[in-house]
């Protein structure tokens, strides 16, 4: 492998890793705020991809606009689902397991609903990018990958700014730390949890548009990336924001390099073996190791 090829692979792995990071971030902030493992996060990704596509068919906007549209729609859907279903369950004080199982039900519901609306065939995304690569010295990089990395990193930066500097973001953080104390301080719990799901939805939807533009959109496109993001979030340490970002990118890089250097068929398996080995050494993921190191 030449250096140039290495760099190209690196960019590809980074792009797919950034997508996993976005989904994993959504999973992680939901776990942090509510303790719920959201199995329907992958389906939110699918909704983002589908809506980005629908927007393009309505008005052929440029890619960043589609990205925003898909993300916002997925965010709105996530908030609706949270207020309609998960909140109802929480208010009824059902055990946590019941909420997790209902997210599995939600995943079935959204997949089958999407199949009814958009059909079972994968739908190709329109060609939004120039095909010829950007030539940077000896390295040739597809503009699409650059866009993906830039948009995903921008999204993560926006998330950090939101969590740190806005009232809504701070209340999300407070609720994640201690829901009861946050409520005593006058934070509206319902609103904070709903905005957590909203943010997770926006991140997932954004990932959906990026993923769709790389491959295609289909009713079940979210399941596997959702599971992989779940693995990435675990690698990073469940509930840790930095961990989710790092976990996603590491997982994307591992996957890409295994696919080219070891075996395409076993690329997911190698990722999983590494996952198990890493969890054996660091039972709480990267974040656990960082906490211990401190």
């Amino acid at each position: 492998m030449t250096i140039a090829e290495m760099v190209e692979l690196l960019v590809g792995g980074l792009a797919i890793g950034c997508i996993y990071s976005l989904i994993a971030l959504g999973l992680s902030i939901i776990i942090r705020a509510t303790g719920v493992l959201n199995f329907a996060q992958g389906e939110v990704v699918m909704l983002g991809a589908m809506f980005g596509l629908a927007t393009y068919r309505l008005v052929p906007l440029p890619f960043p606009a589609l990205f925003v549209a898909g993300a916002l729609f997925a965010g709105v859907m996530a908030v609706i689902i949270e207020l309609l279903i998960y909140r109802t369950l929480r208010v009824r004080r059902v055990p946590m397991v019941n909420i997790v199982i209902s997210t599995i039900a939600m995943s079935i519901l959204l997949q089958n609903g999407a199949q009814l609306v958009w059909g079972s065939e994968p739908i190709a995304y329109p060609r939004l990018f120039a095909l010829e690569g950007l030539q940077l010295g000896p390295v040739r990089v597809a503009p699409q990958l650059v866009w993906i990395v830039v948009l995903a990193l921008g999204m993560m930066l926006a998330l950090q700014l939101f969590l740190r500097f806005t009232r809504a973001g701070l209340s999300v953080q407070a609720v994640a730390q201690d829901p009861e104390a946050a409520q005593l301080m006058g934070i509206n719990l319902t609103r904070a949890v709903a905005s957590t799901y909203g943010i997770a939805g926006i991140l997932g939807g954004a990932a959906g548009v990026l993923l769709g533009s790389m491959f295609y959109a289909s009713f079940n496109m979210g399941f596997l990336p959702g599971i992989k993001a779940f693995v990435a979030a675990t690698l990073g340490g469940l509930g840790s924001i930095g961990g989710a970002m790092l976990g996603g990118i590491v997982f994307g890089l591992i996957e890409t390099f295994t696919a080219t250097s070891i075996s395409t068929a076993y690329k997911d398996a190698v990722g999983m073996v590494l996952l198990i080995v890493i969890l054996l050494v660091l039972p709480q993921g990267f974040a656990g190791a960082m906490r211990r190191g401190r």
Partner: protein
Amino acid sequence: MSEPVARVSPFAIAALLAGLLALLTLPLFLGKYHLHIVSSAMIFSIAAVALQLLLGFTGLLSLGQAAFLGVGAYTSGLLATGLKLPFELTIVAAGLLSGLSSLILVPILRLKGTYLGVATLGFTIIVHLVILNEEWLTHGSLGLMGIPRPSIGPWLLRSPAAAYYLYLSILGAACFVAYRLVIGRFGRALSAIMLNEDAAQASGINVTLYKAQAFVVSAVITGIAGALYAHHTQYLNPNDFSLWRSIEILLMVSVGGIGSIGGAVIGAFVVMLLPEALRFAAEYRMLIFALLLIVLMGLGQNGIAGLCVSAARAVSRRASFDPGRLERRELAE
């Protein structure tokens, strides 16, 4: 104040007997197709009971059950088609190999909660990919065909009803084994681990050993269920053992009620048969299934078993009105 444990409610006994009678006479009423579906549900009940042992009685979340099911199914299927071994041998081999494969995972049992769930999920994905890609062994995505029906000694169980009774008796045996394990010393150790691992360790329970034993037993039972599945459907496809299958088994246990062996069986029947029963709704059936699932979870009970328990309690409370009861409750509080 909790009621004494030894007292089994007459409703539970009545329900158990009615259920048993229904299961025993079922082949008389069902056509071939429906008997096939019910038999599959029975086989998955065995797998659900095995997961119940982990989730409901040890507090271990395993998403690796599909892998054990797959190891068992392919072991039995390959031995039966390749080496023409008899059913009694292949099913034992399936249980053994599945149990052996679970030994690889024993080191990860020290992971907690969701982390263990993710690690076992990884195992399912690995095994699925091996089944899919090692074509020389498993025939890959073509699937494994021509697996013979189950047989006992010289008798090939050609009639679906005979096979049904075989599955029923193995399910009965699995429930019995699970029940014996759970009520005894072993089960008490497991529930101590589930309640508080550190406290269990401090009380001299070898946490790692007990967890590993529960895990291996569960894998052996699941492997046997896999073998039955192979001989029942007579055709295996790698996608029968994807991650989704693990999630499905998890659904069975939580629909039925976590911590109840009977619940696992009920849950497996509901998860397997409800989509069949909803066939009239055509493409809407999974939507309805999911909605029903959400409603069940929203009732806030521990699955169907929890629902039955509180219903039976409400009925018996009304039936046996006891004026002293209220005062006693006040005293207790």
